[in-house]
């Protein structure tokens, strides 16, 4: 039987932040360790999935890492521009998490 999930409901933390001035890094911290294990085992958050969700080329994705001690998935991408360049919208990168709030998946 297929089960449908909203990331918004399953995660305690969904956040974005600069990792230095040239990267954005996204942390998803799950509420439940067993659910995290299932999510990780099914490899739901791949570079391709994130690239599609954010409408960016897969080559902009630096890494997707599952970190069991924190029940977390971490995605790091190339920033659209260096922090503070002309055209900047979010110097600290702390408000780039919106597409993740709408992410749905099946297990």
């Amino acid at each position: 039987m297929v089960k449908y999930f909203d990331l918004f409901d399953m995660a305690d933390v969904i956040r974005s932040k600069n990792a230095g001035p040239y990267e954005f890094t996204f942390d998803i911290i799950f509420k439940d360790a067993d659910h995290f294990e299932e999510f990780a085992k099914a490899d739901i958050m791949t570079p391709a999935v994130f690239a599609k969700l954010y409408n960016i080329p897969e080559t902009d994705i630096i890494s997707v890492i599952y970190f069991a001690p924190a029940k977390a998935v971490k995605i790091t991408i190339i920033r659209p521009m260096a922090s503070g360049d002309l055209g900047e919208k979010d110097i600290y990168g702390a408000q780039q998490h919106a597409p993740l709030l709408d992410f749905e998946y099946t297990l």
């Binding site: 970190f67 001690p69 110097i91 600290y92 780039q96």
Partner: protein, 455 residues
């Protein structure tokens, strides 16, 4: 059991902390007080201009507690990335605050001031020798990037701090420092494991942000032992949980399992987190040292121009429906009017339609009822930026878009004057690695006797 306790009063010097938390921290008899004062997070302006991003009054308030307590207990007070970005002007700014407090309270101590600013010719020489390396995804710099940079800083490891402590310094004010080292240095010097000390420093550098509920303005205590470290909050309203501490290991880093820094990398693949009452015990973090002197990270910024802003809003549904088209037309009009002065940047930031803050979330479910518009002009001179901003503002105010009914004006301005100087605009110009050299971080020692600064 052998222990080394470190008090981290606040996430960034100047962010504050409750006096009760600090006093509780001092009751636990820390071996050192340390604080990280900087970050690249506030953007390139602060490093480029040499100005602090924290407020002088707030920094002085925090330092009054820390300096008085450290001197009274005879323990080190260690400040890294002073003044926010760690250039020499930031260092001077922070030293001046320490001097002021010392004079007011007639304190006596030996201080060390460690510079992290590099001269342009030192970096150019290294660059020409092929000793500057790209730090992907930041671009590989050119010689021009180095020449154009205002302040160039290198991130120091724990070594200059250990040298200063060996020389008997009690108060250390350092330029740009790898965040964890202000906490790790006294512990490594006391013989504790570098991997555990640096991992503990990585968590302590943000103080109670790693607690639950998190706060950037509260104290944390780190207790380093031979085979583990423990993190404790000092405010009964918070506790450390495995999730809050493990999650903090992720914070602002690209990879939670390998954290590169000056002199080597922290390997967290074998790290475990265990709940112990209201604290958390961490084990298994390892430090893998680089061969030789390794590399240091360079940071620098350069001036781009001057900025002028105007803030306004529209509530008109007819205008909102065609806002993109209206803005393009206004831009064209500005460009045409100042055809001889094309060297400027003009942007309209619109908030309320779903793409003001986000780079990725461009769509919105329904037409917004109002939109805020920030007009931004950047040019070589303040005068030109003012001219472009002012002209763009008046053009947008009276632009006759299609089907317009509101013909008296298209914008609501909350302020008079409507336009504001945004100051100097900088961009990051160096973010790369450079082969470390001996004596990159010179230390100046000062004896402060009864508040009189000798040096």
């Amino acid at each position: 059991m052998k222990e080394f306790r470190i008090l981290s009063p606040t996430a960034i010097l100047g962010y504050g902390f409750p006096a009760a938390s600090f006093e509780e921290g001092m009751r636990r008899k820390p071996h050192a007080i340390a604080v990280d004062a900087g970050s690249t997070d506030p953007g390139p302006y602060y490093l480029g201009s040499g100005k602090s991003f924290t407020d002088r009054g707030a920094v002085k308030r925090d330092l009054e507690f820390m300096l008085t307590a450290a001197v009274a207990e005879g323990i080190p007070l260690i400040i890294g990335s002073a003044g926010g970005a760690g250039a020499n002007s930031h260092l001077d700014w922070n030293v001046d605050i320490i001097r002021e407090i010392a004079a007011e309270k007639k304190l006596s101590f030996k201080a060390a001031v460690i510079s992290s600013q590099l001269a342009h010719d030192v970096v150019l020489k290294s660059f020409n020798a092929g000793d500057v390396k790209e730090l992907h995804p930041a671009p590989m710099p050119t010689a021009k990037h180095i020449e154009d940079s205002t302040n160039i800083v290198a991130q120091m490891s724990e070594k200059p701090f250990i040298d200063a402590l060996d020389a008997g310094a009690q108060v250390i004010i350092a330029g740009r420092s790898y965040d964890p080292v202000v906490f790790a240095a006294p512990a490594i010097r006391a013989g504790f494991d570098a991997g555990l000390a640096l991992h503990m420093g990585k968590i302590l550098e943000c103080a109670a942000i790693a607690a639950f509920p998190g706060s950037g303005s509260d104290c944390m205590l780190g207790i380093l032992r031979e085979d583990c470290f423990e993190l404790n909050t000092l405010n009964p309203a918070r506790k450390c949980t495995v999730t809050s501490v493990a999650a903090h290991t992720l914070y602002e880093k690209s990879d939670p399992t390998s954290l590169p820094g000056p002199g080597g990398a922290l390997d967290l693949r074998q790290t475990t987190f265990e709940q112990a009452g209201d604290g958390v015990i961490v084990r298994g973090s390892k430090f893998v040292a680089d061969e030789g002197l390794g590399f240091v990270k360079l940071e620098a910024a350069r001036l781009v121009g001057r900025r002028t802003l105007s803030i306004a809003a529209t509530i008109d549904p007819i205008m909102i429906a065609q806002l993109g088209k209206v803005i393009s037309a206004v831009k064209e009009r500005v460009n045409a009017n100042f055809e001889n002065l094309r060297d400027f940047y003009l942007d309209f930031k619109t908030y309320g339609a779903g793409n003001g803050a986000s780079f990725y979330d461009g769509d919105t479910c329904c037409p917004p009822s109002e939109i805020a518009i920030i007009i931004e002009a950047v040019a070589d001179t303040r005068e030109l930026a003012d001219t472009i901003c002012s002209f763009a503002r008046s053009t947008l105010l009276h632009y006759g878009y299609e089907d317009r009914k509101s013909t008296a004006g298209n914008l609501a301005f909350p302020f008079s004057p409507s336009d504001f100087a945004g100051g100097d605009v900088y961009e990051f110009s160096l973010y790369c690695l450079m082969k470390a050299e001996a004596d990159m971080f010179p230390i100046k020692y000062v004896d402060c006797k009864e508040g009189v600064w000798n040096g």
